[in-house]
């Protein structure tokens, strides 16, 4: 019974994770410049990958796997913002201009 429930919950989490990853990809395609694209990649992407790791934890029924999946989520949440920040910073320093609709640019 519990195993059955866990499988359904796991399937649901994998689907939700895949959906967020897809949305992140659509965002990267549709948004106008690197900085706005990073919003989609860092947030929807992190949630998508996190949900898939959570699904692994739910279906495994193995303490060691659960803990490693949860640790994976923690490291993902710690490293994603750093990566996004470094990409944005490197792009700005290399002269990548924000899109024309940008209203304020204090960094100029």
């Amino acid at each position: 019974m519990i195993a059955e429930l866990a499988r359904y919950l796991g399937a649901l989490l994998v689907l939700a994770g895949a959906l967020f990853s897809l949305i992140a990809a659509i965002g990267v395609l549709r948004l106008p410049d690197l900085y706005t694209r990073l919003h989609a990649a860092s947030k929807a992407g992190a949630i998508g990958a996190g949900l898939i790791l959570l699904a692994v934890a739910v279906v495994s029924f193995d303490g060691a796997v659960v803990l490693r999946a949860l640790l994976g989520i923690v490291f993902l949440l710690l490293s994603t913002p750093v990566a996004a920040h470094l990409l944005a910073r490197a792009a700005y320093r290399c002269g990548e201009a924000p899109t024309a609709t940008t209203t304020v640019d204090d960094l100029k």
């Binding site: 967020f20 106008p32 900085y35 919003h39 060691a64 913002p81 944005a88 204090d106 960094l107």
Partner: protein, 159 residues
């Protein structure tokens, strides 16, 4: 007290990463933890670890909630057909009142994973954090919201 607690937590982390909860492995983990703590001893021997741990847990919880809200908002935004009418990007200099590197790092990371904001850079003198926001209508309100929300919480967790 705090060092004993840290050793236990690190030993459990070791067992989790190596994937084996046997007694010898836990002891080995504890040994490695003690060695690591010895190396960084001047940074970890601070009192009042428990109240701080609670505030850090509160911050972590807030962060997860904000992250979920953030992902949902980005999802709704990129699926709109009239996408470009709904974004007004801006890069805003946020005047920092936290001063330590660890606090600035934590704040910058929190900002990146929350709705519509992304840390781009910190000024050389560490007085400003440059934030890219995907939709800004009122600059003052934007700054006030971060100062009273995350920055206040970060200060609470780090002091």
């Amino acid at each position: 007290m705090s060092l004993v607690l840290l050793t236990i937590v690190l030993a459990l982390g070791w067992a989790a990463v190596t994937g084996s909860f046997t007694l010898p492995n836990l002891l080995l983990g504890a040994l490695v933890s003690v060695a690591c703590l010895f190396v960084v001893r001047q940074y970890v021997s601070r009192p009042h670890v428990l109240p701080r741990a609670l505030r850090i847990a509160a911050l972590a919880w807030l962060f997860i909630i904000e992250l979920v809200v953030s992902a949902l908002r980005v999802a709704r935004l990129v699926l709109r057909p009239d996408l470009n009418a709904h974004i007004r990007p801006a890069i805003i200099a946020f005047p920092l009142s936290v001063t330590r590197d660890a606090e600035i790092t934590l704040l910058a990371n929190l900002i990146t994973l929350t709705p519509g904001t992304l840390s781009v850079d910190v000024s050389e003198d560490r007085r400003f954090l440059y934030i890219h926001a995907i939709h800004v209508t009122d600059r003052e309100a934007f700054i006030a919201e971060i100062a009273q929300g995350f920055e206040a919480k970060v200060r609470g967790a780090c002091n």
